[in-house]
Symmetry: C2
Subunit: 242 residues, 2 copies
DNA sequence: ATTGACACTCTCCTTACGTCATGGTTTACA
DNA sequence: TGTAAACCATGACGTAAGGAGAGTGTCAAT
């Protein structure tokens, strides 16, 4: 039977951590002295070792706690899931690195206005073509006119973000659930901030994304080469389905 | 002047977040109504946009707060540092994935006992050769004998971890600061848990790491092909320097 | 018997907010 | 003009995994 001090020295975890693990029921000592000192035995030690291994893999302690009560197979399975999670995390980090590089390289670190102007023009043109001088179009015009430059820029930045997200999905299928969810998000976003975006209009936008030079350049800058084309394909799938 | 609701809709951050940013002084509204309602203007909005960009890069809000008061150049620099950090994080994640794969593939998911037995034998032999039947050796023998299997396994696991860390440094210089720090850590670890590990003994261990089949196999399993050789080189640098 | 090292519990602190709870304000409509 | 809906405010509590420190009890040795 070892005290906290000895276990700490042996395992490398702090005494505080041992106490914490006891309190949350993750690793309770085998016994206590009369004075209340924690006493650990060999089995507890082995359990601690397993805990440390799972913790290494960044598995949340809550899950570790549950896992320890389950079979070896289940634990193996959990590790497999954790691998998937870690891979996702790695991808996200890679995306961030790419974004940071673009930011630190680009002259206009945080200026989306070129895209913004382009977008406004294009959307306006598209909306006009679809609606003519209808009431909805009038409402949009009014909203757009009353929008300050800062507001427009903010919205453009969010649009860029959506396209960047599309870029991250590009190695997958345009029909994948994730891509289709993004399409919906894009449609919602346009509907909320610009004008009610029907599937027909969305379809037209998608075609414009690849056809219009400035548009395609901006979108590909946000999500990488080929993003505009990918978005168009994803939109086509979305509209074809419904 | 916009209310929290409007800013929230425009920027995509929650109202709660806006309130939080106000409280911590990161983004205070331009004004308040008599009733205390927050009112945001265009300039505040632009500031929010910059905040969101830096936040995207996982820069801590505390740092974002400081950065916003600094020059454009300083911000660019900070982004550069952040890239380095993100790359480190990516590497760590990759290491974790490798570890998880080893764990889920290996039959003996969490059993270090082969390494443990090997290590005990080898260390014992090395220690004996260095010290003969001295007092220090007697103390070590006693400690080793009283060690239960679980205790030994835990220590072996930590040793594996150290070798895994060496493996992650393998693409660098054995004389690098990081590698040398690891050598010190290894020496400390042995001194603390086995016997006082002088440079001479450490040197001998390093040679054994590459010479002894079982040893090398175990170390390379922990840190990847060539880890044992790398550790030996790092140890040589350490001992040559002092 | 005292001292120093060690143990205990308790509480607050960390990030970046989410989630109520409670109550005041503004606006739209009847 | 009354009221209901929608909006706003502050404050408190919770999160993951402990760290730091306060205040107090216990053990071994001198």
């Amino acid at each position: 039977m070892m005290t906290v001090h000895e276990v700490s020295a042996l395992s490398g975890v702090t005494i505080r951590t041992l106490r914490y693990y006891d309190r949350v029921g993750l690793l309770c000592p085998a016994a206590r002295t009369e004075a209340g000192y924690r006493l650990y035995d060999d089995e507890t030690l082995r359990k601690l070792q397993r805990i440390l291994l799972l913790r290494e893999l960044k598995i949340p302690l809550r899950d570790v706690s549950r896992l320890l009560k389950m079979s070896e197979t289940a634990q193996r399975e959990a590790i497999g899931r954790q691998i998937t999670l870690l891979e996702l995390k790695k991808e996200r980090t890679e995306k961030l690195i790419a974004l940071a590089r673009r930011l630190s390289k680009g002259e206009e670190t945080m200026d989306f206005s070129p895209f913004d102007r382009c977008k406004e023009e294009a959307y306006t043109a598209e909306a006009k073509a679809r609606w003519g001088e209808t009431e909805a179009y009038g409402a949009y015009e009014k909203k757009a006119a009353s929008r300050t430059e800062a507001e427009g820029s903010l919205l453009a930045g969010r649009m860029m973000q959506i396209f960047a997200d599309f870029g991250a999905l590009m190695d997958g299928d345009p029909a994948s659930e994730a891509a289709q969810a993004k399409v919906k998000e894009l449609q919602d976003f346009i509907s909320t901030h610009y004008y009610p975006c029907t599937d027909a209009i969305l379809m037209g936008l998608g075609q414009m994304y690849v056809a219009d030079e400035r548009f395609r350049a901006n979108i590909d800058a946000a999500g990488g080469e080929g993003t505009a084309a990918f978005v168009q394909k994803a939109i086509a799938v979305h509209c074809g389905k419904e």
